[in-house]
């Protein structure tokens, strides 16, 4: 047998196998379909073969990054979670995935990346703490800008400004979408009976972050927890298919509370040390240059002279 395919994705936290929606989709689908993947959970998208996460390294087609394409590739490798679905159920899958992408995803982007309190307190902090040193200053901001840009283009509003108005519109759509999903799910275990399909992977990936990540501004969260069957559905999938991550969470959470202050202080301390050293070096260099400018200026005329000489020579020629 050939070696298993390699999947690169964002590492997990908060009791989730990954913090990113797209990565979660792929991970959940792979579990549902029973695909034996070698998963690399990393925190540096630049180390992925495509430069973005998730990414699947394949033998024939190079590396692919879009979740839908990864799922199609896995399906071609005979890891098909939708094998038992009727044609109509396949059509329903397509329709509900569209519903998620059009109605829930914009609100999810907003709540994680645009809402300033959530972004500063949770999202940026998580990425800044987990991405390695020089990139952690750069990447969270860049991702924030990319997400804002995406939201603008998807909404077709080039001057879209985050604010109450936008939040209300997005959340209204998202509430409706969640309610519709809850109604469609009813009392079933999965969307199409007793075994999970690709639609379950998508729904789970879009809802689980809302359920697990504790956000200061948690309106979406509140609505989701009010829909008991959807909440139960996510918890079930986590317990059944990602037992290690789900079990890790509560233990880590309780530890995290007292630990977090120490853990937070630790990198901050180190960062402060690095910053202060940098500042000191900068100040010294600045002083040196300040005094050095004089010497440089003294030298420049010579340089310029030589340059002028060249020019003069040419002129003379």
């Amino acid at each position: 047998m050939a070696a298993p395919l390699e999947l690169f994705c964002w590492k997990g936290d908060y009791g989730l196998p990954s913090v990113d929606v797209d990565c979660l989709t792929v991970l959940a689908y792979a579990k549902f379909a029973g695909a034996p993947l070698k998963v690399h959970k990393i925190t540096n998208p630049w180390r992925s073969p495509t430069g973005t996460l998730p990414a699947l390294k394949t033998r024939e087609e190079g590396s692919i990054s879009q979740p839908s394409k990864i799922i199609i590739h896995l399906r071609k490798q005979k890891y098909n979670a939708d094998y038992d679905l009727s044609a109509k159920e396949g059509a329903d899958t397509l329709a509900f995935v569209s519903l998620l992408e059009e109605k829930l995803l914009p609100a999810l982007i907003y709540t994680l990346w645009i809402d300033s309190k959530n972004y500063v307190d949770v999202t940026r902090r998580w990425y800044a703490e987990n991405i390695s040193f020089p990139l952690n200053f750069l990447l969270p901001n860049r991702m924030h800008c990319q997400q804002l840009e995406k939201l603008r283009l998807v909404r077709g509003d080039p001057v879209l400004e985050p604010g109450e108005q936008l939040e209300k519109e997005l959340y209204r759509d998202a509430f409706e979408c969640m309610t519709l999903l809850s109604q469609r799910l009813g009392s079933q275990k999965f969307f199409f009976g007793d075994s999970p399909s690709s639609l379950d992977a998508y729904v789970f990936a879009h809802l689980a972050p809302l359920l697990k990540i504790k956000l200061p501004n948690g309106k979406l969260q509140q609505h989701l927890t009010s829909l008991n069957n959807l909440q139960q559905y996510c918890t079930n999938i986590l317990a059944l298919y990602f037992p290690s991550d789900a079990r890790e969470a509560p233990g880590r959470k309780t530890h995290a509370q007292p630990d977090s202050s120490d853990l937070d202080n630790e990198p901050h301390k180190r960062r402060n040390q690095v910053l202060s050293v940098l500042f000191a070096v900068g100040a010294m260099l600045g002083y040196a240059i300040l005094t050095g400018i004089v010497s440089i200026k003294r030298e420049r005329p010579q340089l310029k002279n030589s340059g002028h000489d060249d020019g003069d020579e040419e002129d003379e020629d």
């Binding site: 992408e101 059009e102 077709g156 519709l180």
Partner: protein, 274 residues
């Protein structure tokens, strides 16, 4: 439309009956309108006909700039202006005209999901073919889109629009797709719609809903619009139940209406189905 305005609208909308002079605005039908706008406009017209609400169709060169959301079509009813199918459906519902009241919760969820499928795949595919396929963009989209304007505004506006659509495609991950893949997506979408429709007269058995209006608007426009090649229409034509579905709605809501009321203003001047 702003949210406060929307709440206000739904409050007073309920009080006022549907006026006789309600108007739907869209770009110029013969020279300017593009496939995607034409489809959206036809969807709204079909929806209003299904509700039995009369509307005059008015073509304006600057319809896009008149619309509150920047998207066509929009309707002007009494004191209110509402754009796009989704808000229009809510607006007429506030006035007491709804097509989806007879559905149960699960059916309503499915209806919304399929409407998003059409928006997410068919509409995006139409936009892609119009603006991202270079051949179609140069031959059809840019000249038509900018036809009411003189030089140099025509070029500026057309390229601006094209750039905007391309950036959107980039953001939703469609820019890497080839034309073939987009046709494949359209086919997949039609396949899903065809499966859902089955042998029923409408998507949810005997009564039409807003989903039927939306699907008809897009499919009928794709079938009757001349593009650089007819591959897009061919994709739709391979699903016979969708074809007869379009036929049925055209017969019921456009041909009969025309015979009953010979009002020229709301005449539907599209070619009939093949």
């Amino acid at each position: 439309m702003s949210l406060a305005a929307e709440a206000f609208v739904s409050q007073i909308a309920a009080a006022e009956p549907w006026p006789e002079n309600a108007t739907l605005y869209q770009p110029l039908k013969e020279d300017q309108i593009l496939l995607s706008d034409s489809a959206s406009s036809l969807a709204v017209q079909t929806f209003l006909r299904m509700c039995g609400l009369p509307v005059l169709v008015s073509c304006r060169a600057n319809a896009e700039y008149m619309s509150p959301s920047g998207k066509v079509p929009f309707i002007h009813v009494g004191n209110q202006v509402v754009s796009e199918l989704g808000p229009i459906v809510q607006f007429t519902k506030a006035k007491g005209h709804s097509l989806s009241d007879g559905l149960d919760d699960v059916q309503r969820a499915e209806m919304k999901a399929y409407m998003e499928l059409v928006n997410n795949m068919l509409l995006t595919a139409e936009l892609y073919i119009q603006w991202c396929d270079d051949h179609t963009a140069t031959e059809i989209s840019r000249p038509r889109y900018s036809s009411p304007y003189s030089w140099p505004l025509n070029h500026i506006l057309a390229y601006q629009k094209q750039w905007e659509v391309r950036r959107k495609m980039n953001a939703i991950g469609w820019s890497g797709k080839s034309l073939e893949q987009v046709y494949e997506d359209v086919s997949q979408c039609c396949q899903a719609l065809s499966q859902r429709l089955g042998t029923q007269p409408y998507f949810f058995s005997k009564q039409p809903t807003e989903l039927d209006a939306l699907v008809f608007g897009h499919l009928f426009t794709i079938l009757t619009t001349q593009l650089t090649n007819d591959e897009l229409a061919e994709k739709v034509k391979s699903y016979t139940n969708l074809l007869s579905f379009c036929h049925r709605i055209e017969q019921t809501y456009f041909k009969e209406h025309e015979r009953e009321s010979q009002s020229g203003s709301s005449r539907h001047s599209k070619g009939s189905l093949p």
